[in-house]
Amino acid sequence: MPDFSLILPHVVFHTFALLITIVSICVVAARHPVKSAVFLVVDLFLLAGLYASLDSHFVAAIQILVYAGAIVVLFLFVIMLLNLQQEQLKGVKFTVVEAGALLITLIGFLVVMFTTMSGKPTGLGEGSLDVAAIEAAGGNTQVVAMKLLTNFIWPFELASMLILMAMVAAIVIAKKDKKVVPAA
């Protein structure tokens, strides 16, 4: 029998990669915003699966918890609140600037891809995350947490400030005029 530990990662990756590509196209191409939002949830879910296959369980869980559980719900709420209807995709004209931006990014990516791919592919196994060492230090979550609260303590605190500011900003921007609705 073949060694499963060698084949399984490839099967997982290629399945997920294919699904992610298809679902991403669906997100962008779906005519109704609610459909897009639902496809986005599926996409985030698949990405979380990919993270989990990269031994990043904590990030995978946070991805679903924050992205799928909170951010996309926010999108869904706003779509329902505004009662957006299907969008007419026909008759959309591409401007030169937009097409140019897309083209330049595409070319840039192709250049980067060819330069990196021309060398020998770096296996994730070689010189990669030392799973044994991380297990000894108390598992992936503990290592991430340790680093987050020591080396990255300032960005961490700043991120909390950013969230606070965003919260205040969102409330101020979205608030209705006081004349229309008395303060609840």
Binding site: H57, A61, V73, N140
Partner: protein, 359 residues
């Protein structure tokens, strides 16, 4: 990774068996709960409740009633409202059932079975960030409700679903906060390790962190949209909330989702606060050796967890028939003005005490 082909096969088959057992139990929940939810209040209010339907001449306390109900429900005509978003209308019940079943997979139902040189864990998937996984997936339950309400093209449904989703998102925060002290105390996100750490009654979460338990219990009701927080389906105001337009088997699917998520949260509550599969005053890990037969400890552990979860299911019913429904602003005020600050205080308090002990 690092699995040999042989081990892979064994684990695969074991997973299939566990999956079949679990699915069997979860699918039996709604009938039993429907019966319990009519008999228990009957007992409480000194009336009989459904006791007629039986097999042949035996009435069996009306235990066959749910079967009759199910047949009635499935035989009904399925009505899809005009102007509904067809695809989402049909998908919404699946969205509401799927997360509940997914969480049910991550709960440890018993100690590991050591048989024939293999270790078989008694949870279907073993996640080393079990807590976060459960939160992450349970936050997806909002979609079923939101999309069901929106796709029905009915203002009652939409209002119910908006209420329900706002409520579920709000109460996810105290629910998460109530469990942080537990993670601090036991020092792990792995549910298995948390259960193993509770090997003595006084080490149970409910004694080490009672405030957490109260917060968890309250948010549990809100998360599952159960009374006294069942504003999503406040029948006096919103007909039936987000599933107003659902009939037949799809309506039953919402029931299934609700009962399974109730059961899963009950299991989580017993796992975190009441020692999971541990039995008080008995070291369950040594039962196998004492009897000399593998799997007995696991079976007893499983029964123990089911018993504890059953108690919480009973609490659900008990509370439903005791406490009147909250008003919506009261609900939000309870969540944001009382439970979130209390949760924060609880976290800080636990952290300070733990630091003092370890110092």
């Amino acid at each position: 990774m690092g699995l040999t082909a042989n081990e892979f096969t064994v684990q695969f088959i074991a997973t299939l068996i566990k999956f079949a057992i679990m699915a069997g139990i979860l699918l039996q929940l709604p009938p039993v709960m429907v019966w319990a939810e009519r008999r228990i209040p009957g007992m409480m209010q000194r009336r009989k409740g459904p006791n007629r339907v039986g097999l042949f001449k035996f009435r069996l306390y009306g235990i066959v009633q749910p079967l009759a109900d199910t047949i009635k429900l499935i035989m009904k005509e399925e009505v899809v409202p005009e102007g509904a978003q067809k695809a989402f209308y049909h998908l919404a019940p699946i969205f509401s059932v799927f997360p509940a079943f997914l969480i049910a997979m991550a709960i440890p139902y018993g100690p590991d079975i050591h048989a024939f040189g293999f270790d078989v864990p008694l949870s279907i998937i073993r996640v080393d960030v079990g807590f976060l996984f459960i939160f992450a997936v349970s936050s997806l339950a909002v979609y079923g409700v939101t999309i069901a309400g929106w796709a029905s093209n009915n203002k009652y449904s939409l209002l119910g679903s908006l209420r329900a989703s706002a409520q579920m998102i709000s109460y996810e925060i105290p629910l998460g906060m109530s469990l942080i002290p537990i993670v601090l105390i036991y020092g792990s996100l792995d549910l298995n390790k948390i259960v193993e750490a509770q090997n003595h009654v006084w080490l149970w979460g409910v004694f080490l962190s009672p405030i957490s338990f109260v917060l968890f219990l309250i948010s549990m009701f809100a998360e599952t949209n159960r009374s006294p927080f069942d504003l999503a389906e406040a029948e006096g105001e919103l007909v039936a909330g987000f599933h107003t337009e659902y009939t037949s088997a799809k309506f039953a699917a919402f029931f299934l989702g609700e009962y399974v998520s109730m059961f899963v949260l009950s299991c989580l509550a017993s796992t975190v606060f009441f020692g999971g599969w541990q039995v008080p005053f008995v070291d369950i890990l040594k039962i196998d050796d004492a009897i000399g037969f593998t799997g007995v400890g696991a079976l007893i552990g499983f029964m123990s967890l089911l018993l504890k979860a059953g108690f919480f299911m009973w609490v659900y019913v008990w509370v439903r028939w005791t406490v009147p429904r909250f008003r919506y602003d009261q609900l939000m005020s309870l969540g944001w003005h009382y439970m979130v600050p209390l949760g924060l205080i609880n976290i800080v308090l636990t952290a300070v005490i733990l630091a003092a002990i370890r110092f």
